[in-house]
C-alpha cells in the first residue's frame, strides 16, 4: 500500500495542477480545494490509467477517503497479478 501513495500523490498533483499538494489516507474531497464533479471524473480516469486498473460500476461511490482508494487499487492490482 505504501508504495502506491507517492504515485497517487503525483496523479493528484497533475490533476489539481498543484506540485505541492500532499495527500494522506484520511484525505477526503472536502479537504482539497477544486475537487468538484468534473475534477472527480478527471481524477478517476487518471488513476485508472496510472495504475492500469478499471473500476467496476458502483465501486467509486463506496469510497470515503484516499486511504480506501489506495486499498481498492492495491486489491485490484493483486487480483490482476494472480
Amino acid at each position: 500500500m505504501n508504495d502506491l501513495m507517492p504515485r497517487l500523490q503525483g496523479v493528484f498533483q497533475d490533476v489539481f495542477d498543484d506540485p505541492k499538494l500532499a495527500i494522506a489516507p484520511t484525505t477526503t474531497a472536502s479537504d482539497v480545494s477544486g475537487w468538484d464533479s468534473l475534477t472527480n471524473i478527471n481524477l478517476i480516469f487518471a488513476i485508472e490509467r496510472e495504475f492500469h486498473v478499471k473500476f467496476a460500476l458502483g465501486e467509486i461511490q463506496e469510497l470515503n477517503n484516499v486511504g480506501e482508494m489506495v486499498a481498492l487499487i492495491g486489491k485490484k492490482q493483486d487480483r490482476a497479478r494472480q
Partner: protein
C-alpha cells in the same frame, strides 16, 4: 509560440486529460488570441468536452468563452428560448447529441413506409431546432451526426432491416448530410467516423455512462474535442494553405541521386513502393481540392525533376506550385517558397522523413507546422490528418482555381521579365475585374476572406457569416466584392470593401485584398467602383482608417497613395484619412477592364 510538447502530435489522450489544468494555464499566455463564443448544447454530460475543447481551441490561438446547456436540455433551451442562452449570443452552437438522444426508434418488424415516416418526423424535430438557432440566435451550427450503440439485440439485423437501430441511425445521418449540403452555416461533426476510428468499445464506456452520463468515454472526448476544434479553426480561416514536401524517402523510396530513376521504390511491384504511390495519390487529392504543394529537397535540380518522369509517379511536375531542389539549408528554401507563393510562413506544413531536417526547420521557422510524421510512409497521411491542417468548411470553386492559379504564378513571373516596362506587362495580362455589391453566391467566400486576410487589410476587422449576410442587405452599407481574371487564369474573389454611409460621408470599415493579386491595380479598380457608387448615392466624402497590426504594414500608406489627406491620428494609434469625391472622375485602374456580373451567375442566385 511553440505549442507545449504534450499537444504536438502524436498527442497522448491520457496526458492531455491528466495535465489539462497546467496546459490551459500555459496556452493562455499566448498573445493575440481570437475570442469566440461557443454554446455547447448537450444531450448528455458536456463538462468534460468543454474542458478539453478549450485546450485544443487555445492550441489554435482561439480563446473560447462557453455556455453549457443544463444537462440533457439541448432541445428545450433552443425551442423555449432559454434567456441565458439568448443573452450569451453565441457565434457557434455545438450540438452534442448522440444516438441516445433519438426520440424514438422503430418497433420490431415495423413496415418500411412507417420507418421512413418516423425518420422524417425525427428530421423535422432537428430541422426546426437548427432553423431557430440560425434565425433567432444567428449562430453557426456544429452538429454531431449519430454514433452507433455498443450493443445489438438484433445482431446483424440491426443493419440489414429498416427497423434495425443501425439502419435507422444511418438513415438519419443521411438526412443530416442532406441538410448540410443545402445550408452553408450548418456543419457536421462526424462522430460516426470518430467512433469507428476509436472502436465502439473505446468510444463508449459503460462505467462513465452510468456514473456520469458521459455518452463519450474520456479518451474519445479528446478526439471529439480535436475534431470540433478543427472545424472551428476552419470556420475562422485558420487552415494551412501549402504542403512543403521532401522527395527522397518521402515521395518515393530511395535516393534518386544515388540510386537512379529506375531503382526508385515506387509503384505496385513492391509493398513499400505501393505505399509511396498511395501517399502520392493522397497528396494529389489534397491538391485537387486546392491545397498547394511545394517541393523542398536536397538534390540536384535535374535529378529531382527526373523523379517525376517515373512510370509509376502519380504526382507530376505541374502539380507543384513551387519547386526548390538545391543544396541550401531547408529553412532558407522554405522562406523562399513562402515568398514566391506570397503566403505567410504560418500557412505552411513541412513533411520530411528525416528527423534532423524536421528539427532544423522547426527550430528556425517556428511559424511553420512540422508534424512528426515518423519514417514509415504508410502513416504519413494519418499524421497530417491528426492535426487537421487542411480541414475545409466547404469546398468552394475558388479553392479549386487557387492551385491552378499559383502554378500559373511561375509563368507570370517569367512572362514579366520579357517586357520593357511594368505597364506593358500589366497591359499584356488582359485583366478583367468583376466588381459588384455582395451577392448571395459569394457570401461564404467573402466571410472566408474577411476572416483570414492579414496583410492587405486596413482594419483587420473580422465578421461572422451572419454579420456579412446582414451587411449585404443593409441599405446604409456600401459592400463590394471584386473578382479578377487574367490571361493565365481566374484568381477568384480577391477583394472586399465595406463602407458605412452616414449622411453624405462613407466610412470604410473594411478594405482588404488577397496578396496573390498585389501590384495588379486591383485596389484601384475597387476604389473606382467605390467612387462611382458614392457619386450615384450623392456621397461626397470618403473616410478611411488604417489600424496597424503585426502583419498589415504593407498598407500603412495605402490611403496616402490614393490621394487621401491625413487627419489627426486616432487615440488607439490608427491613422485617419479623408477624400473628397470629385465632380469629374476618370478611372484609376488603367489596365483592368470591368465586366458586369455574368448573367448565368445572377440567374443562379
Amino acid at each position: 509560440m511553440q505549442l507545449p510538447k504534450e499537444l504536438r502530435s502524436p498527442v497522448s489522450a491520457e496526458t492531455v486529460l491528466r495535465k489539462r489544468t497546467a496546459l490551459r494555464k500555459e496556452l493562455l499566455k499566448q498573445p493575440n488570441l481570437l475570442p469566440v463564443r461557443i454554446a455547447i448544447l448537450g444531450g448528455s454530460t458536456t463538462q468534460e468536452i468543454r474542458s478539453i475543447l478549450e485546450i485544443f481551441l487555445l492550441a489554435h490561438a482561439i480563446q473560447p468563452s462557453f455556455y453549457e446547456s443544463a444537462y440533457g436540455a439541448w432541445h428545450e433551451e433552443v425551442m423555449y428560448q432559454s434567456p441565458e442562452l439568448w443573452s450569451f449570443k453565441p457565434d457557434i452552437v455545438f450540438v452534442h447529441t448522440t444516438w441516445h438522444n433519438v426520440s424514438r426508434f422503430p418497433d420490431l418488424l415495423q413496415p418500411e413506409a412507417e420507418v421512413v415516416e418516423l425518420a422524417r418526423a425525427e428530421m423535422a424535430r432537428f430541422e426546426a431546432f437548427w432553423r431557430k438557432i440560425h434565425e433567432d440566435l444567428g449562430a453557426i451550427v456544429i452538429q454531431n451526426n449519430f454514433d452507433l450503440p455498443r450493443s445489438r439485440p438484433l445482431g446483424n439485423i440491426e443493419a440489414a432491416e429498416s427497423y434495425g437501430r443501425v439502419n435507422f441511425l444511418l438513415r438519419l445521418n443521411a438526412g443530416f448530410a442532406r441538410h448540410a449540403a443545402t445550408h452553408s452555416r450548418f456543419l457536421i461533426d462526424d462522430i460516426l467516423y470518430l467512433s469507428a476510428q476509436a472502436g465502439l468499445s473505446q468510444w463508449f464506456d459503460y462505467g462513465y455512462w452510468y456514473n456520469y452520463h458521459m455518452a463519450v468515454s474520456p479518451v474519445a472526448t479528446v478526439s471529439l474535442a480535436q475534431n470540433v476544434a478543427a472545424i472551428v479553426k476552419a470556420v475562422y480561416g485558420k487552415t494551412k494553405k501549402c504542403l512543403v514536401l521532401d522527395l527522397d524517402n518521402t515521395l518515393w523510396g530511395g535516393v534518386i541521386g544515388d540510386d537512379g530513376l529506375q531503382n526508385l521504390v515506387l509503384g505496385r511491384d513492391h509493398p513499400v513502393g505501393e505505399a509511396f504511390t498511395a501517399f502520392q495519390r493522397y497528396l494529389k487529392a489534397l491538391r485537387a481540392r486546392g491545397v498547394l504543394l511545394a517541393v523542398c529537397s536536397k538534390n540536384d535540380p535535374e535529378n529531382a525533376r527526373e523523379g517525376f518522369s517515373h512510370p509509376d509517379t502519380v504526382l507530376k511536375l505541374d502539380d507543384f506550385s513551387a519547386f526548390k531542389a538545391n543544396w541550401n539549408p531547408k529553412p532558407d528554401n522554405i522562406r523562399e517558397i513562402a515568398a514566391e507563393l506570397n503566403i505567410g510562413l504560418d500557412s505552411l506544413v513541412f513533411v520530411d522523413d528525416n528527423p534532423a531536417e524536421r528539427a532544423i526547420v522547426a527550430a528556425q521557422l517556428p511559424e511553420v507546422a512540422v508534424p512528426d510524421v515518423g519514417s514509415d510512409v504508410s502513416l504519413f497521411a494519418e499524421a497530417l490528418e491528426r492535426e487537421a491542417f487542411f480541414e475545409p468548411v466547404r469546398i468552394v470553386v475558388d479553392d479549386l482555381d487557387r492551385a491552378a492559379y499559383y502554378s500559373g504564378n511561375a509563368q507570370r513571373t517569367n512572362y514579366e521579365s520579357a517586357f520593357a516596362s511594368y505597364e506593358d506587362f500589366l497591359a499584356s495580362l488582359e485583366m478583367r475585374a468583376e466588381i459588384g455589391p455582395f451577392a448571395p453566391v459569394y457570401l461564404e467566400r467573402i466571410a472566408q476572406l474577411v476572416n483570414k486576410t492579414n496583410q492587405f487589410n486596413l482594419t483587420t476587422r473580422r465578421y461572422t457569416a451572419a454579420e456579412v449576410e446582414a451587411i449585404a442587405t443593409d441599405p446604409a452599407s456600401i459592400a463590394l466584392y471584386g473578382r479578377l481574371a487574367d490571361r493565365f487564369g481566374d484568381n477568384g474573389l480577391v477583394s472586399v470593401l465595406i463602407g458605412k454611409v452616414r449622411r453624405q460621408a462613407v466610412e470604410i470599415a473594411t478594405w482588404l485584398m488577397s496578396c496573390r493579386v498585389l501590384k495588379r491595380e486591383m485596389e484601384y479598380a475597387m476604389f473606382d467602383a467605390l467612387v462611382e457608387e458614392c457619386r450615384e448615392r450623392g456621397v461626397r466624402e470618403i473616410l478611411g482608417v488604417y489600424i496597424p497590426s503585426r502583419k498589415n504594414g504593407m498598407v500603412a500608406e495605402h490611403y496616402a497613395a490614393l490621394g487621401f489627406s491625413r487627419l489627426p491620428d486616432g487615440p488607439d494609434g490608427s491613422t485617419l484619412w479623408r477624400y473628397e469625391v470629385p465632380a469629374a472622375w476618370s478611372p484609376r485602374a488603367a489596365h483592368i477592364r470591368r465586366t458586369g456580373r455574368p448573367a448565368m451567375r445572377t440567374a443562379n442566385v
